[in-house]
Symmetry: C3
Subunit: 203 residues, 3 copies
Amino acid sequence: MNLIYLLDLCAVAVCAITATLEARRRELDLFGVIVVAVISGIGGGTVRDILLGRLPVYWIHDPVYVVVGTVAGTLTFFLGRYLKLPKNFFLIPDAVGLALFTVIGTSIALKLDAPWLIASLMGVITGVFGGVIRDILCNEVPLIFRTDIYATASLAGALLLIALDHFDVSQNIAMLWAMASIIAIRLAAIRWHIHLPHLRSDI
Amino acid sequence: MNLIYLLDLCAVAVCAITATLEARRRELDLFGVIVVAVISGIGGGTVRDILLGRLPVYWIHDPVYVVVGTVAGTLTFFLGRYLKLPKNFFLIPDAVGLALFTVIGTSIALKLDAPWLIASLMGVITGVFGGVIRDILCNEVPLIFRTDIYATASLAGALLLIALDHFDVSQNIAMLWAMASIIAIRLAAIRWHIHLPHLRSDI
Amino acid sequence: MNLIYLLDLCAVAVCAITATLEARRRELDLFGVIVVAVISGIGGGTVRDILLGRLPVYWIHDPVYVVVGTVAGTLTFFLGRYLKLPKNFFLIPDAVGLALFTVIGTSIALKLDAPWLIASLMGVITGVFGGVIRDILCNEVPLIFRTDIYATASLAGALLLIALDHFDVSQNIAMLWAMASIIAIRLAAIRWHIHLPHLRSDI
């Protein structure tokens, strides 16, 4: 469990860092950046907890999550202008974070006896809703509604986890396979520009 | 109760269909469309359940709602370009859905001993908040804040339901009258272009 | 307690009034204005209650809050065009409202044994999230993410309250000092144009 907790905090940090870099295009002050960074990191799990009735939400009694998001956002805010990172530097950490959030969210919902469809949905919400709230706060149509296979990778991994769980595969193995499939689908989609069909706006 | 459940699912489907048609103007991919469609269908009841503390929210243990929203959104996504429906095709189903969501939301709040004012508000929230969240996700000022009598029809019906309930009219009769009044007010407002006063922006 | 309750209602009214004046620039009808006004007044406390699991949220069984917000919004809607108030008329009531919401939110979280960092966060959320939701509904990047010391004043006051509480200062004295510090910081920031650092968008 300790490894998952550590990875979870790393995923929060990665979310906060990418959110801060995204927020650059907006005229946000330090406070705004930190709020957007923290919400990106913990927003998905918060929405999941509220919908499932796991209240108070998970970070109320464990402030480490908020601290990690705040520190990551603040450091990126001040160091971001000096660091010239390659554009795709965060693609792999981001895919790992998506995978981790998804399997954690799905597992939690399964433990609460949610039906499998809802459990997979909770995995997707945990994985992607931090970014959705970030984009709403920044006044943009959420990126994941417009862009390549992201939530779809999360959904596929959540369904795989549920299937493996159904056939009594041990939990650790199931989580590893689910995470590996999410990361693989996500990176493959980026590498070969795989998209879902778009609504044609000319109709 | 079975009839109400069936009508409720129909209302979710209508919401999902109209949301998908609305989403056309945006560059959403299939995933984005389905999310917007499902949220339009179940968002109002979800917000009501969270505010009232009825957790987990109603669709967690009954995935049929999510399935209906997903199927309706997906079919509309793929068939929408071939079907040329008259522009006002959904006005009546939409009014029926508004009426149904409103009376369901109001009834639930009354059963939890909410004061009448709050119960009517829960009816309105159940009726209109799916659309509000849809518009926020699509990065627009929610339509109901700008447009003709919509939430007002919902509020009038909710208050009628509460009044009839107060005078011990049987629940089924009260719900029918309330729904009829919402549909009548909504359609009358559309037919004769009745609006609430607007803020003049030139002041 | 009665004085705090009364001040709380006043703060709701002030929020509703300023939200209505803000909403002028948007083409909202009467219903939209009232919704935006009420949400500005009670939104912060609502988000706090949901995150902390204090459900149903505080205004469900005390409709006075909704009534005050509705009346304040409606009166401002109709009288706003005749009243020519000086532009900074609401700066002081607004600062008092921020201070009051903050100390109420922080106190509630402390009573629920939240860690001090989370308690201060709940104070800030209570103080500023009504305005955040208002701006999201009006399709704008929330003002507090872009503007001068506002949430920062709230945070400073919340931390002071927690420190005084820790050293067993009596609650009333602690709340007064915390409120005074929030009001002082807020007004000083306005008077001398003190800002947090902004992200430079040219990097």
